[in-house]
């Protein structure tokens, strides 16, 4: 037996706007009532809510790498997430590690970003493995920094190594290196 079909399904974009409270009161109330009577649309909203919950869990577990903003890091701290932050000057380096109690690592790469409209990040490992290029990373030019949360859960399991990150501005005339950053990662030694 198939599930009853909705004769006026609400699209996913509108469901997201509804969930985030972006609609006016009247439109929101119309969707409230529709969802209470509609298993199909409420099922789709439940799927979105499930994904949102999964995203929150992934962030809290440090299981996802992302370029974010200072405000986002502050909201993690405000919610009690245990952070370990490293600030790296332009063309500088830092010794870093992940302690057992750390939930999310944060790297702040200082960079002159005025006038930059597109930025790529290139990761070079200490082995001969090919560089990884992350194109069009998000940043706020006014902040003067790029904020990276690496996959902390994965890094926790990684042996000591060196990672170099290069920020590259992509401009009409070509590419321009904004800065190089070196992370000397030491695996956490529980015996120390």
């Amino acid at each position: 037996m198939t599930a009853p079909a909705c004769n006026a399904p609400i699209g996913p974009a509108l469901l997201i706007e509804y969930w985030l409270g972006e609609l006016d009161e009247t439109a929101g109330a119309r969707i409230d009532e529709h969802l209470l009577g509609c298993g199909e649309c409420s099922g789709r909203l439940a799927e979105i809510v499930g994904l949102a919950r999964g995203i929150r869990a992934a962030v809290r577990e440090g299981a996802v790498r992302a370029f974010v903003t200072d405000a986002f890091i502050k909201s993690l701290a405000a919610q009690g997430v245990r952070l370990r932050e490293y600030r790296v000057a332009r063309n500088g380096s830092v010794n870093c590690s992940v302690a057992p109690e750390d939930e999310v690592l944060v790297a702040r790469l200082e960079a002159p970003l005025a006038g930059v409209s597109r930025l790529d990040a290139v990761f070079y490992g200490s082995t001969d493995a090919a560089a990884e290029v992350f194109r069009d990373i998000p940043f706020n030019a006014a902040s003067g920094e790029v904020v990276l949360t690496p996959n902390t859960a994965r890094l926790r399991l990684t042996p000591s190594h060196q990672l170099r990150v290069r920020l590259v501005a992509v401009e009409a005339g070509g590419e321009r290196v904004v800065g190089d950053y070196t992370f000397n990662h030491a695996a956490f030694d529980l015996r120390a």
């Binding site: 209470l36 992934a58 577990e61 992302a66």
Partner: protein
């Protein structure tokens, strides 16, 4: 969107009619089925308006106990209006919960002994490792926008301000990213 989904409403109304016709406490199967159908929807309403799992669970219990009691007492003769009644009850109880006037205990003492309480969770429990792998497959902007949006349920305008983008642009990235994430999590590639 204004038109209710007829088939779903019919089913709810049929169950409500059975409860009304049977008399107090004599249609336990219909009550349990109605509860099972409505609980996930009421829970979502609660999550949307109260942003708290426990408060949403309280809302489910209060609203559905009120609804079933109303039906048992024959106080809802037009059973096709069951969803309107539930909607009104949701609004009222949310206001009460916000004011801190919980009537949960009183209702539970009065009616809960003979009503089966079902699990109202409808949103799928996802494999978090798979979801994390799928997040890494998104573009950098999609991933950042989804994290910044859904970690604290931020509106497009707030995320746009933080990233120096237009709100409309954030909505497009958000929608596209969530669709891709959903396809990856539910699909076979992760």
């Amino acid at each position: 969107m204004e038109n209710p989904p007829i088939d779903s409403l019919d089913k709810d109304a049929i169950l409500a009619r059975r409860i009304v016709d049977a008399g107090p406490g004599l249609a336990s199967e219909a009550e349990a089925e109605l509860y099972r159908r409505l609980a996930p929807r009421v829970r979502l309403y609660g999550l949307r308006h109260l942003r708290d799992e426990q408060a949403a669970a309280d809302l489910v219990q209060q609203v559905l106990l009120m609804t079933i009691e109303k039906l048992r007492a024959g106080g809802l003769r037009e059973t096709e209006r069951i969803v309107s009644f539930v909607f009104g009850a949701c609004r009222m109880v949310v206001l009460d919960l916000r004011r801190g006037h919980a009537r949960r205990e009183r209702l539970l003492q009065q009616f809960a002994d003979d009503i089966t309480i079902a699990d109202a969770s409808a949103d799928p429990r996802l494999d978090h490792e798979r979801l994390a792998r799928c997040l890494e497959r998104l573009s950098e902007r999609e991933r950042a926008v989804l994290l910044m949006t859904f970690y604290e349920d931020k509106r497009a305008g707030e995320v746009a301000d933080a990233l120096g983008l237009a709100a409309g642009n954030v909505r497009v990235i958000r929608h596209r990213g969530l669709e891709r994430l959903r396809d990856c999590v539910i699909g076979t590639q992760a």
